[in-house]
């Protein structure tokens, strides 16, 4: 895999290149957006990835449009809503990596994970998001009552870390939100017709083959919540359009039975979201939260977003 890195900060560019090189990719770093076209001149579209700050998203998007098959990765130190335009308009960009500020690179583990996956490695296990030695819970959810119990257990699990109560509540909300999608939104019958999406107030009991899996884990520095449904119906536009609408002004879209603001709730409760979809097989959503920051900083911190689909 060949990576072209457009980064105006030399030190950051160097560090990002080093991370890509560590995964076996080749990397070229440029600082001037005007040099991007030249750097991509001889690149093979299917194996080339262009990376840049979202500030240079216009330039990246322009080059990707001209070179079908090439992938784009953005990073940003700003709120995600500014990057969403590129994700929504350019199908070749599926990833935004958060960074602390313009002088910091994206998180190293996240970048190397991204690099590996762009090279064809499959979805990582939950352990890959956490440091070795983490602890966690697997929760069984079948009914509406199980959903509420699971949300309460997740709140207790987070609260047991002696973090601010608001974080525990926030994660319980996140779990509730993701479970609503996995239990009510995802299941379809043999004809592909949604089974439970029509009435979100109804109590339901899922069959074994419909049940989502719920995992919450932490290594003390990060919290990871992973919810997987066995349907794989989530589409790219659900994520990006939902987020764009929610973050742009919170206009409600009731066309799918809900408020259309679930993605925004998820975004607001996490520092990074990973969506892994294998159509017809599963949708796996992993939400991460950094425990080593206070809520004040969390609100202003840039957030990562990844969408993976074969």
């Amino acid at each position: 895999m060949q990576v072209v890195i457009l980064e105006r900060n030399k030190l950051v560019g160097r560090k990002v290149a080093r991370l890509f090189l560590a995964t076996g990719a080749s990397a070229v770093t440029i600082e001037d957006p005007a040099a991007l076209a030249g750097a991509l001149a001889g690149a093979v579209a299917g194996t080339c990835v262009v990376c840049a700050d979202a500030f240079d998203g216009d330039v990246v998007a322009e080059q990707l449009r001209a070179r079908p098959g090439m992938r784009g990765v953005l990073w940003t130190a700003e709120p995600l809503r500014r990057s969403l335009r590129y994700l929504a308009e350019t199908t070749a960009i599926d990833h935004v990596l958060a960074r602390r500020d313009f002088e910091s690179p994206p998180r190293a583990w996240e970048l190397t994970m991204l690099a590996r996956r762009l090279q064809g490695v499959g979805a990582p296990p939950l352990a890959a998001y956490l440091d070795w030695g983490y602890g966690g819970l697997d929760l069984h959810v079948r009914t509406t009552a199980d959903r509420d119990t699971a949300a309460a257990q997740i709140q207790d699990f987070v609260a047991a870390l002696q973090v601010p109560r608001r974080i525990a509540e926030m994660f319980a909300e996140l779990a509730h939100e993701l479970l609503m999608n996995a239990m009510y939104g995802a299941p379809v019958d043999a004809a592909g017709k949604p089974k439970y999406a029509g009435d979100r107030k109804a109590d339901i009991s899922l069959a074994d083959h419909e049940r989502p899996t719920v995992r919450i884990a932490t290594d003390g520095s990060r919290l990871a919540l992973q919810i997987r449904d066995p349907f794989g119906r989530l589409e790219r536009r659900h994520v990006f359009d939902g987020l764009a609408r929610g973050l742009a002004g919170g206009e409600i879209d009731a066309s799918h039975g809900g408020a259309g603001l679930g993605m925004m709730v998820c975004h607001n409760a996490s520092t990074a979201m990973f969506f892994d979809v294998v159509p017809g097989r599963h949708t796996e959503v992993t939400a991460l939260f950094e425990l080593d920051m206070n809520l004040r900083e969390f609100r202003t911190q840039a957030k990562s977003l990844h969408f993976w689909r074969p």
Partner: protein, 755 residues
């Protein structure tokens, strides 16, 4: 551990929904035209928003949201249904005690308030010392200036008395409430909150206010607030004759000293008045001040406020019971049966036994039914005149000020307003501080398809994209208007307009700083860069790069201005307006933002940016926001405006360099520079070591200047046994946010490449 900053005592029982441990408990209260719905718990898909909204009819609906714990996305939808339905059934909707979770939704979800206005909300505070969380109630009337500043001061923790800090980002957290105007509650709502819900509207409003209406030989007094030592009995008793009606419906707490004053008042007025009638006496008043000993033969109780609950619709409210009409029932210590005004079902009275046993001891009132009916009219007049008296244009209404002074409420604000208007008219020509070219209005955009107000506001005086103008505001203030470029997204346009306005404010401040030394040293740092970027944009507004350069610079200027203004610059624009156009490429937006600073703020800012501090031969001023045009990544620092011989000159520093750090510690402003540099140098002079400064020089990225400072030669023998011990310097344990102490926001995380 969590707590709130005031006790909550509410008079009603939760009514609906029933069942064990419901996720959401809803209580309803009503009194006259004011109704309140209180929510406690989780708002999710189970909340029947529309259904509840249809039952919410009232003149003013108060939504008490202090107990909301969680709101799911489906709950949001239900809530918006509720709010929009309820808003249609009411004249006004007020949101009080909004929990942080509610504030989050207000900030994120369009129309979450359904047209209602937020009067009060909780700000989350955290104490890192005892690991506790607290909520502090902010009110839009009382705390507006602090909210506008975007920052809340640290305050003593309610648990351990150490310092606790506001645990949110002010710009984000206050974004919704700053978008609405500052407002005061109407007297009826105020009274409702204060007396029925024990809600402390504010320190001022809780104090007793008396509205007075004289109609022929009848004097009507309406008491509103706590009955305490401020009760102006002498003033009120003065000149009373004929019939006196005292309306007690809006009375709050009754302090012992207030009860004493009341008794004195009755003894004073009873001889002069023909009759004293008490109306709308609440149960607490009856218990404390209507015992056999308290009632003078001339005093009669006309109506009493009794708490009733409707078992059918769940509404709890205080209802006026006409004592004469129901005397034959009341004399048996029984409450009369009343019908619910909402659903017409029979209501149940739950007044306390003490009140019910006192009522039969009262004399049967002798007032005519016409007089009883006239109280409603007199109350309306009193409320209207009282409310008008607190508005600037009112004249002539009489009232008693909070301090208990009887005063004619002719407003002194009127001439001030007239003067302000005159100034605004005088400034109609707009003193253009800022780029304001004679370009045509946006063309090719087609018709306006939507806008945030019915008509373009008067403060929008031009629509040249990406322009900004400033005018003088009254009292030496500044009012700057920024215009966005034509944008595909409204939020982008809003942000760009706000940044343009803030950049204009900074430029206006620069023009007002008269000090030639400041102008000589600071202006050249940014002027060329600013002019060049603006000129490039003027030449080709369609050029993405030029537009981005201007936008990035303005954004950086705005951030520095807010960060360095000490709260003088509001976190959000004073006014906003936008227009939507339908073009061949889809919807396009043009946004306008106005930032207004008062004369005091302007003076404070000018003084702050021109404040000098000297250390090691360098005279510095704090980083001026417009410097961001040249160095967009600087957030704070000290600009060297004069450099005499000394260690810094020897280090290679020069005038117009910006010092960003000393000895690894950040320089926030000129004063911080002087202190850090002096302390660092003094320490090094004693012990030796490198003097290191992080500096933004004329070119390139910030870099470090350092030199080795050698310690003075010390005779070991002389130093031995001196008994002096030095301690490593470092932050002390008080008043410090632990996160800040650890440098949590300064890139020390594990992913920082420098670690």
């Amino acid at each position: 551990m969590a707590s709130i900053d005031r006790p909550v005592q509410r008079p009603s029982q939760p009514i609906i929904p029933a069942g064990a441990a419901p996720k959401l408990v809803i209580e309803k209260f009503a009194d006259g035209g004011v109704a309140c719905i209180k929510f406690v718990g989780t708002i999710d898909e189970g909340f029947e928003g529309k259904k509840l909204g249809m039952t919410a009819g009232a003149d003013t609906l108060v939504l008490d949201l202090g107990g909301v714990k969680k709101i799911s996305s489906f709950g949001i939808r239900e809530w918006v249904d509720f709010a929009t339905t309820a808003a249609k059934a009411t004249r006004a909707m007020i949101l009080v005690e909004c929990a942080p979770k509610v504030v989050d939704q207000l900030n994120m979800v369009a129309n979450f308030a359904g047209g209602g206005r937020v009067f009060s909300f909780y700000a989350p505070f955290r104490c890192d010392y005892c690991d506790s969380e607290h909520r502090v109630l902010l009110q839009i009337d009382r705390d507006f200036e602090a909210i506008k500043g975007g920052k809340l001061a640290e305050r003593p923790c309610l648990s351990c008395k150490e310092s606790m800090y506001f645990d949110e980002d002010g710009a984000t957290y206050f974004s919704y409430v700053l978008g609405q105007e500052r407002f005061q509650l109407e007297p009826a709502v105020e009274a409702f909150l204060a007396s029925k819900l024990n809600y402390a509207v504010s320190d001022l409003n809780r104090k007793l206010r008396v509205d007075k209406v004289i109609e022929g030989r009848t004097t009507y007094l309406r008491l509103n607030g706590d009955l305490d030592g401020t009760f102006p009995r002498e003033k009120l008793a003065e000149g009373v004759e004929g019939t006196l009606i005292v309306d007690l419906g809006a009375i709050g707490k009754i302090e012992p000293v207030g009860a004493m004053e009341w008794r004195g008042f009755i003894s004073q007025v009873a001889p002069a008045a023909e009759r004293v009638y008490l109306a709308s006496a609440p149960p607490a008043f009856i218990e404390k001040l209507c015992t056999r000993d308290d009632l003078n033969p001339k005093v009669q109780l006309l109506t009493v406020l009794m708490p009733y609950t409707c078992a059918s619709c769940g509404t709890t409210g205080a209802h006026n019971v006409d004592v004469a009409q129901h005397y034959d029932v009341l004399k048996f210590a029984t409450a009369p049966e009343l019908r619910c005004p909402q659903c017409k079902h029979a209501m149940q009275c739950h007044a306390g036994e003490a009140v019910m046993t006192l009522l039969p001891t009262m004399p049967r009132p002798t007032a005519s039914p016409e007089l009883v009916k006239s109280i409603t009219v007199l109350r309306e007049r009193a409320i209207q005149s009282g409310g008008a008296a607190r508005r600037p244009a009112a004249t002539g209404a009489q009232g008693v000020a909070p301090g208990g002074q009887l005063a004619t409420r002719s407003s002194v604000v009127v001439p001030m307003l007239a003067a302000m208007l005159a100034l605004v008219v005088a400034a109609g020509g707009y003193l253009a501080y800022q780029r304001f070219t004679a370009k045509a209005a946006p063309t090719g955009l087609g018709a306006v398809t939507n806008r945030s107000a019915e008509a373009r506001p008067a403060w929008v005086i031009g629509d040249v994209p990406a322009a900004a103008t400033c005018s003088d505001a009254p009292g030496k203030g500044i009012a700057c208007v920024g215009v966005s470029s034509i944008s595909a997204r409204l939020d982008d346009a809003d942000e760009e307009a706000a940044d343009a306005a803030l950049d204009a404010v900074a430029n206006a401040l620069a023009l007002r700083i008269a000090d030639p030394a400041w102008k000589r040293a600071v202006v050249p740092i940014y002027a060329a860069a600013r002019d060049a970027k603006l000129a490039a944009f003027d030449r080709d507004p369609a050029n993405t790069s030029a537009r981005r350069d201007v936008r990035e610079a303005r954004h950086a200027v705005g951030q520095v201005l807010r960060a360095t203004s000490g709260g003088a610059v509001p976190a959000a624009p004073t006014r906003r307006y936008w227009e939507e156009y339908q073009t061949a490429d889809g919807k396009r937006y043009l946004s306008f933002a106005q930032v207004t600073l008062g004369g005091t703020e302007v003076g404070k800012l000018i003084e702050g940016y021109n404040q000098r501090a000297t250390a090691l031969g360098a005279t510095t001023v704090s980083l001026f926001p417009l410097i961001s045009w040249r160095y967009p990544r600087l957030e704070a620092g000290a600009v060297i405006v004069a450099l005499a011989s000394g260690p810094l000159q020897e280090l290679g520093l020069a005038e117009q360099y910006v010092v960003l750090g000393v000895g690894g510690r950040d320089v926030h402003d000129a004063a911080a520079f002087a202190k850090l540099a002096s302390d660092e140098y003094a320490g090094l002079a004693e012990h030796g070591g490198p003097l290191r400064l992080k500096v933004q020089a004329a070119e390139g990225a910030p870099r470090e200047f350092s030199t080795e400072i050698k310690p003075p030669h010390v005779d070991p023998g002389a130093a031995a046994g001196s008994g002096k011990h030095t301690r490593p310097s470092g932050p002390t344990g008080t008043g410090v946010n632990v996160w800040d102490k650890l440098g949590g926001d300064k890139g020390t995380g594990r992913d920082d490449p420098t670690q």
